[in-house]
Symmetry: C2
Subunit: 418 residues, 2 copies
């Protein structure tokens, strides 16, 4: 029999217990991977990126116009223009070989390199080319106006991106600018997914009464992909302690698998041998049994020989909710990702009807978003919690906090889009 | 010479012009693809999903307990319990073969099928099993309490997901519940990406002064992947009308390519032959030249023989900003996706300093998000607009509207995370 009592914990406490028990240093040994930049979107950096050069590396014109010494333009205006000697034109990707003298100007395009001696660019529209060697300026420019200086974008030796950063399109662009054709990233976690239960059948079969198709393998697999991790489908295991034990042992020994998601079999009832199995396959065993969460209470968090096993409720809705709130955090840890803003999409909306909840647990309420009277409204989805159609109907979810007893109609709520 | 004047238009107008000119019906012919459900995350449905059965398909117990006739429990309480004859236990995935009679109860687990005659389940914790054939109930239940009726989740013939819906994990779960092992989705758009400019060099080369590495191929490629589309890298084209013309002609004739992104070459200046090329390769030609947008003004939107060509500014920052605001919308159209809530991640924050802007154009201001004094603050990123490091430093972006002349310090702003 299991020695772990069904003692509910908050998500926050559960994560704390996990983080204190897990050996991150050991886990992140040998998790680096050298990949090509072109494949790096969404990956997590395993190195600080230090620039080996100044960017742009030369004083670059930011507009089309004439490169000048700023001091030659001081006081220039429409009524009292400055007149400069035009000494030629700088072509794109050309290194000017001359030194600009006082009283001189040279034509330049956006992106062009300023010659030595020049420290500003007058925009084309404030100039008039009077003859091949004379140009009129009707505006003055300040020193370095319309110029990006050689180290103004990025300085040599500067850390531009930090280890743990998940790469967005603009970061990929920055790495391209630095010439980093290859970068070190962390391996993507592989998550084994197991559905348990005598009543679960493959989705291509027609269920007899009392049977249900295997939803969790599919919905959890998609959620794993959504987090840029790799699902490892382990199929359906009947309610059989021996077979479950064998399967979890296989996952434990498979070095490719980083985390194991078991759905079903975590309710207090006839099937609590999941708990026994998890307490028998390696130390320390079950860390948390029961979350202060609705839906999602019958959840198990176990650590065995440094491998994470999570027993999710069998109900597809509950399983996804626990994934979204507990598993997502743990995966983010295993990705090596430093949390940043905007992990989740949220919108503010007005609550369309009262919600009652018990204090002492968090409650996730699925809502549909609707525009009405110039506002965005969040309308709780009616129906029983086991309904998969409810989750698919919902645009998002609001959280009733641990110590709240409900939310009121008309109240402003933050809706996490899913 | 080009006949199109540089006449700036808003994003909204540009999209309207595009949508009026593009033949969507023709484009969406033959864009369906039958795929396996396991691969369907993020894909866009090309069919309405109609359920061919009732879900759960039988009256299912939602809790562990005893299936009863609700009327047999009316009035039951701690002080006055009801006593029912226990007639057995229903196993998971078993179809009960008997008819429950008045005065009888049968043990049932969550997910089990109620026998004929039963219309409610009394939770285990409100019962006591007095002897093998007698059970005590200390609570009454209403008709259908703790039961999910056979068609309560999904009704046969019900449309559960609509054509144009992008599949989330819960939708994949719903399709699994319906046994849809294969579904029809729209093909993912393929976007050709071309960088133009004599100054652009491959990223593995060391730039000479005046040269810059090819950032846009990489940042735009990543942005295309972020939208679950397929990048088709066409490399770097020198400033040469003939070569650009040949390349665009190739893209036009390639049936695999749905949209062509050309960066650089869209500024008024020496390089406006992009416009001429786009007006020469097929009707109707250039639809929009110039956006009322900062950064992003020198943008071209062209339609040639039903293929979309977009000329983006050469500056990586401007190119990504136009992608994020104009191209993203057009791609969403080509994906066949019906817009839904939460396309973009947004957070509300307080503005840390005043922003001034010209009315008559939209301005995108990059911001860093910071927690301070219990609030989330959006701090505009300083520095010139051509700096790629700025975009990588930023957590998101706020929009100063077309008719706003700025935003004030302390004002609440909506930050689009990127």
């Amino acid at each position: 029999m299991s020695q772990t009592l069904f003692k509910v914990r908050t998500i926050e406490d559960s994560l704390k217990i996990f983080r204190e028990s897990f050996n991150f240093v050991k886990f992140f040994k040998n998790r680096e991977q050298l990949i090509e930049l072109i494949d790096a979107y969404g990956r997590v950096l395993a190195e600080d990126i230090v620039s080996s050069e100044n960017i742009p590396g030369f004083n670059r014109a930011m507009v089309d116009g004439f490169a000048v010494k700023a001091s030659d333009t001081y006081g220039a205006s429409d009524s009292l223009p400055a007149y400069l000697e035009l000494v030629g034109e700088i072509k794109m990707s050309e290194r000017p070989s001359f030194l600009l003298q006082s009283g001189q100007a040279v034509k330049i395009s956006t992106g062009g390199m300023l010659p030595e001696g020049a420290d500003a660019v007058v925009m084309l529209e404030y100039t008039e080319n009077l003859n091949p060697t004379l140009v009129e300026m009707s505006r003055s420019v300040a020193s370095w106006e319309n110029v990006l200086r050689e180290d103004e974008d990025i300085k040599k030796e500067e850390i531009v991106l930090k280890k743990g950063h998940q790469l967005r399109p603009q970061d990929i662009g920055l790495l391209a600018a630095l010439g980093r054709a290859n970068i070190k990233v962390f391996k993507r976690p592989v998550l084994a997914i197991i559905s348990t239960g005598d009543e679960i059948i493959p989705i291509n079969q027609k269920p007899n009464p009392g049977q249900v198709r295997d939803v969790n393998n599919f919905s959890l697999g998609a959620a794993v992909k959504q987090m840029d991790c790799i699902p490892f489908y382990s199929g359906i295991i009947k309610d059989d302690e021996k077979r479950l034990g064998d399967e979890l042992q296989k996952c434990l020994e498979n070095p490719e698998v980083d985390l194991v998601l078991i759905s079903g079999g975590s309710s207090v009832g006839t099937r609590d041998y999941t708990l026994d199995v998890l307490n028998s396959i390696g130390p320390p065993g079950v860390l948390v049994h029961g979350l202060a969460l609705k839906p999602g209470k019958p959840t198990i968090l176990s650590l065995n020989k440094q491998k994470v096993f999570i027993g999710l409720p069998g109900h597809p809705v509950s399983a996804l909710m626990v994934f979204d709130n507990l598993v997502r955090e743990i995966i983010t840890d295993l990705k090596g990702e430093t949390a940043h803003f905007g992990q989740r999409k949220t919108v503010e909306a007005l609550l369309e009807s009262n919600i009652f909840s018990e204090a002492g647990r968090e409650e996730y309420v699925r809502v549909v978003l609707k525009h009405k009277d110039g506002h965005l409204w969040a309308e709780p989805v009616l129906g029983k919690s086991g309904m998969i159609s409810n989750l698919a109907k919902a645009d998002g979810c609001i959280t009733v906090g641990l110590n709240q007893e409900g939310l009121y109609q008309g109240e402003k709520v933050s809706v996490t889009i899913f």
